[in-house]
Each structure stands twice: as C-alpha cells, then as structure tokens.
C-alpha cells in the first residue's frame, strides 16, 4: 500500500500545524481571556493513553448547554495520533454531545474497517483522510486514541 495515502497532505498539515494543540482556559481565567470562544462554563478534561506505544493526550472540551463550544488537546504522539486529534477537534466544535458521540462511533467503525460506505463516511469530513489506517493494524490505536477518549468523556458526562 502506498503510504502517502496515509501520510497525505491533510494529515501532514494537521500534524505540523495543529490548530487545537493548546490549553483551554479555565472559567476562572475567563475575564482576562483572549480566547473569545471559551465561555464561562464547564471544562471537561480527560487523559487518553496508548500503553503499547506510550502516547498520551489530554483532551479538553468546553460544553455549554449540551453544545461543544471549544476543544483542545496537549500531549505527545505520532503524526497519525496528533493529526487525528486535531481533525477531531475541528469536527466536533459546534456539535451537540449526541452528535459528537455519533461521529466518534462512526470514525472508530471506519478505522476498524466496519463501516466503508462513502456516503455515510462523508459526515466525517476531513477525518476521512485517515480511512486507510484501517489497512495498517499496528496504527489503528494511534488513529482512534482521541476519538475513544472523547467518546468515553461524553458518555460519562451524559451519565452525570
């Protein structure tokens, strides 16, 4: 398989220049904040770990009235995991919790090779660029790390 299908422009761009790799400001910092999107509401934080390679991300989302107003991440990992996280943040900002859960499920199904219908996958927008990771079993965990973490985070939030 040609690896430039995976290490394509979209992935390389998100890896080298992530838009969302920073810390979200806490509500208490808000008065002096320069980040106008971050409203004085709850910030959820969850750590995702990939024990097989030691990759670690910390995902933060700002939820206001069930809508994900902002998302950010920090941590270290390979190009696939870093780009995948940044692409995910782009995709879920502005979505409701239920929509975001649906999208993470869809992405994980795509990477596992369980969902291949291009029509359905269109919803994933740029995240479709990671589709070929489904042919690289050793890298599946890299691609889904952030999506799993978000999925768990949102399900925990709903249970509260």
């Amino acid at each position: 398989m040609a690896l430039n299908n995976i290490y394509n422009d979209i992935l390389m761009e998100h890896n080298m220049h992530p838009d969302h790799k920073h810390k979200l400001l806490q509500a208490s910092d808000h008065k002096t904040a320069i980040n106008p999107k971050c409203e004085a509401d709850e910030i959820l934080v969850k750590k995702g770990l990939n024990p097989s390679c030691g990759d670690e991300i910390v995902l933060e989302i700002n939820v206001v009235n069930d809508i994900i107003k902002d998302a950010a991440f920090n941590g270290q990992g390979c190009a696939i995991s870093q780009a995948s996280t940044d692409i995910m943040a782009d995709l879920i900002i502005g979505k409701s919790i239920d929509e975001a859960i649906k999208l993470t499920d869809l992405f994980i199904d795509m990477i596992r090779g369980e969902e291949t219908d291009p029509k359905k996958l269109e919803e994933l927008d740029e995240a479709m660029a990671l589709k070929d990771v489904s042919h690289m079993p050793a890298r599946v965990k890299c691609a889904v790390l952030a999506w799993h973490t978000l999925n768990e985070m949102l399900k925990e939030k709903k249970q509260k």
Binding site: A2, Y7, N15, M16, C53, G54, Q76, A79, A138, R139
Partner: protein, 404 residues
C-alpha cells in the same frame, strides 16, 4: 544478493528487503525450516512416554537436541538444560522458583535499568510475593554497569543478581567476567539474560560461571516457541517446580506428588520437540557460518550504520559512541518525528525496523526519550541494507520537513 541471505527463503522471496529487526527475531534459514518439517514428517510422536518405536525416535530427537545445546553453551551436564518457550519463560521460571527457595522479607534483588520487561516484571512480582526489594543498577554513558556501581548496590540483604548480557536498546555488553565474581563473593546467585547475546557471540556458561543463563531460540535462527534455561544443577535440584502437571511428576497421590528428576521436573506437559529440533539445527547453522565470521560482519555493519547515521545532524543515537561495540543494535531518533511514523514510512522503502519503547519503558525514561527507532543487524545483512536505511531516513526527514 549476498551469499548469506541466500540461505533464507524470506530473503530470496523479497530480495530488496532490508530486514533490520533482528533483535526482535531473526529470519529462519532453510536448514532450520527443513529440520522442523523433517521431524514432523518422519519422527513425530509424543516423546518420553510412548512405548513404541516412533515415540522413541521423538524422544531421541528431543534429548539429542538437549545434548547439543548443553555442549554449545558449555554446560557441564545435559540435565542442566531446561526447555522453555522463550527467554521470558526462562526468566519467569527463575524468578518464581529461585525466589521461593531463597527470598525472605526485606531481602534484595538486583537488576539493571537496562532490563527488557521480561527480566524486570517477573522480579517485581517476586519482590511483591516475598516482601523483598527490587534494587536497580544504573549504567554509565556507554551503557556499562561498572564494578563500582555493583559494589555500591550490594548489601548484606542481596540474594539475587539478574542482569542482561547485552542491552536490547543500547547494544552494550556487560563485563560479566568482572561482575559475576563480585556477586559470588557476596553469596549472590547470578542469572544472566542472554537473549541478545547468544546470536552474536560464543557463550560458555562454565567459564562465565553464571548460575543461570536464559535465551530464546527465535533470536538465533531457530523457530519461535522454543527457549532455554541453563541452571547449575545444585540450584535446579533445590528449587521447587514452576509449571506442574503431566510429565514432571514421579508419584502422585490424591493430595500430594513427588516430582521427576532434572530436567523433567521443570518441563510440564507435552513439549515442543519440533522447536528443540529446530534449535539444534540453528546451532549447526551458526557453527557452519562460524562466530568469527558473524562477529566480523556484524561489527563492520554496526560501525557503518552508526557512522552514517551520526553524520546526519537531526539524528540522536543512544548508547556508546563506539558503534563497533553495539552488537548490531543501533537505537536512534529522527528529530521531531515519532518512531512509529518512522517505522511505517521505512516500510514504504522496504526497510524493516522497530519503533517504540522496545519493552524497556524504565530505560526509555532513564534515557529521557520515551521511545526510539531501532535498527538491528544480523550477519546476513550487508552494506546495501545500511545504505537503504540511510536513504530512507533522509527521505522521511525531507517528507516531514517539506511541510512548511
């Protein structure tokens, strides 16, 4: 293709493959594959207990392999050779049974920070079971445990030293002839993890005078699933069994059992006779090449790979600057590119290397790198493989660097 690669069917099928993951497992030569297939074609039966000719053949194949292995590593007696699945199982056996025999609360076990998880986790577990302490030896910048470091860490509570001979990340070899006598002078039992050493140099357990020596077949051209534990008879006799069940018993009552003699006491269940035959064939293979030739080629290629990689300013190499002392193992990082990306992109140029923590997470933290790439050389590799590796490193760097 060089004449050594020609012994390996995988190399013949894929002549442009630069296989540089030999520290993970070596490829298998025809001689080994044929020996295993012949065993199953001609001699297969359950050994040790069948009262018929075929079972006797299987038993002979199994025991002749044991004798060959004993001779190969300089063991005094064949019953000091215990078959296991791999070095991990050998080390688990020692950590379980020797700890049962020796450890009291507050006793100390010495290992180094360079241990593969297989010579670390079994001792963590043993320490937990016996309320003992696990104490670490730290290497100098060349990856060497000095005699001063060892003396410094030995206390009157130290009972066991379990040490890797050659690090699977740094490629550094410990000076066992200096370290083992110091441990013995303090009545410390010494176990050596030789998984990364035996493919690269002649091992003589009698002259090393180690009490235990563990290795895997699959890293020395034999099939996967066969490993060896060498142990001095006096310890093996005294130690309780590890795995129990069929073949390892003498007399069994409803509530109690007595155990078989060595080596069978430690070989529960039907054994991997095909693997043992394959390991014996791998020994023949190594002897037909000769360790002198193996060392000559691997030293030259380690030196070349280290020198060429270190010319690139964006490369960090771990371990000694004397690349000839790396025993084929060159661990490195390309600045700002994750090893998993490097390994995946290497694959696109038909170069097989490993990327990750190499089952040595505490060592990675000690080296402050978390993960790295590892190219590991065997004698059948050649200069063209190293050239392919270097070209691929440059390509990957430009691929990432090209994104502004």
């Amino acid at each position: 293709m060089n004449r050594y690669k020609n012994y390996f069917p995988i190399m013949r099928r894929n002549s442009t493959l630069a296989y540089l993951d030999n520290a993970a497992t070596t490829q298998k030569p025809d001689m080994v594959i044929d020996a295993v297939a012949d065993y199953y074609r001609r001699e297969n039966a359950n050994p040790l207990r069948g009262l018929y000719e075929l079972s006797q053949k299987a038993t002979d194949a199994y025991e002749n392999a044991r004798k060959k292995i004993a001779e190969f590593i300089g063991a005094a007696k064949a019953q000091e050779i215990i078959y296991t699945r791999n070095a991990s199982e050998s080390l688990n056996l020692i950590a379980f049974s020797l700890s049962e025999l020796l450890l009291q609360p507050d006793d100390e076990i010495l290992i180094s920070i360079m241990e593969h998880h297989s010579n670390m986790i079994p001792w963590q577990q043993a320490a937990k079971r016996h309320k003992a302490k696990l104490i670490y030896l730290y290497p100098n910048e060349d990856g060497i445990i000095t005699t001063a470091e060892l003396k410094n860490k030995i206390s009157d509570k130290t009972k066991i030293l379990s040490l890797t001979q050659i690090s699977n990340v740094l490629g550094s070899e410990q000076n066992l002839k200096e370290l083992i006598p110091i441990a013995h002078a303090h009545n410390i039992v010494v176990s050596i993890d030789g998984a990364q050493a035996i493919p690269h140099e002649k091992i003589d357990v009698s002259s090393l005078d180690c009490d235990f020596y563990s290795f895997s077949g699959h890293k020395m051209y034999a099939p996967m699933g066969i490993g060896i534990l060498y142990g001095k008879e006096k310890y093996l006799e005294a130690m309780p069994p590890f795995l129990t069940g069929g073949e390892m018993i003498d007399y069994v009552d409803e509530q109690t059992a007595t155990f078989a003699e060595l080596p069978y006491k430690f070989e529960a269940g039907t054994q991997n006779v095909g693997g043992a035959v394959g390991l014996a064939a791998a020994i023949d293979f190594i002897e037909s090449i000769g360790y002198n030739k193996i060392i000559e080629r691997e030293t030259e290629l380690s030196h070349l790979a280290g020198e060429e990689l270190s010319k690139l300013p964006y490369i960090t190499i771990y371990g000694s600057n004397n690349f000839s002392a790396h025993h084929g193992v060159i661990a490195f990082n390309i600045e700002n590119i994750h090893p998993h990306d490097v390994a995946s992109l290497m694959d696109s140029g038909n170069v097989a290397i490993r990327g990750g923590h190499h089952c040595a997470q505490p060592l990675m933290r000690f080296l402050k790198c978390n993960f790295c790439c590892r190219a590991s050389i065997a004698f059948y590799n050649d200069k063209a493989d190293i050239k392919q590796l270097i070209e691929q490193v440059k390509y990957i760097r430009s691929y990432f660097h090209g994104v502004k």
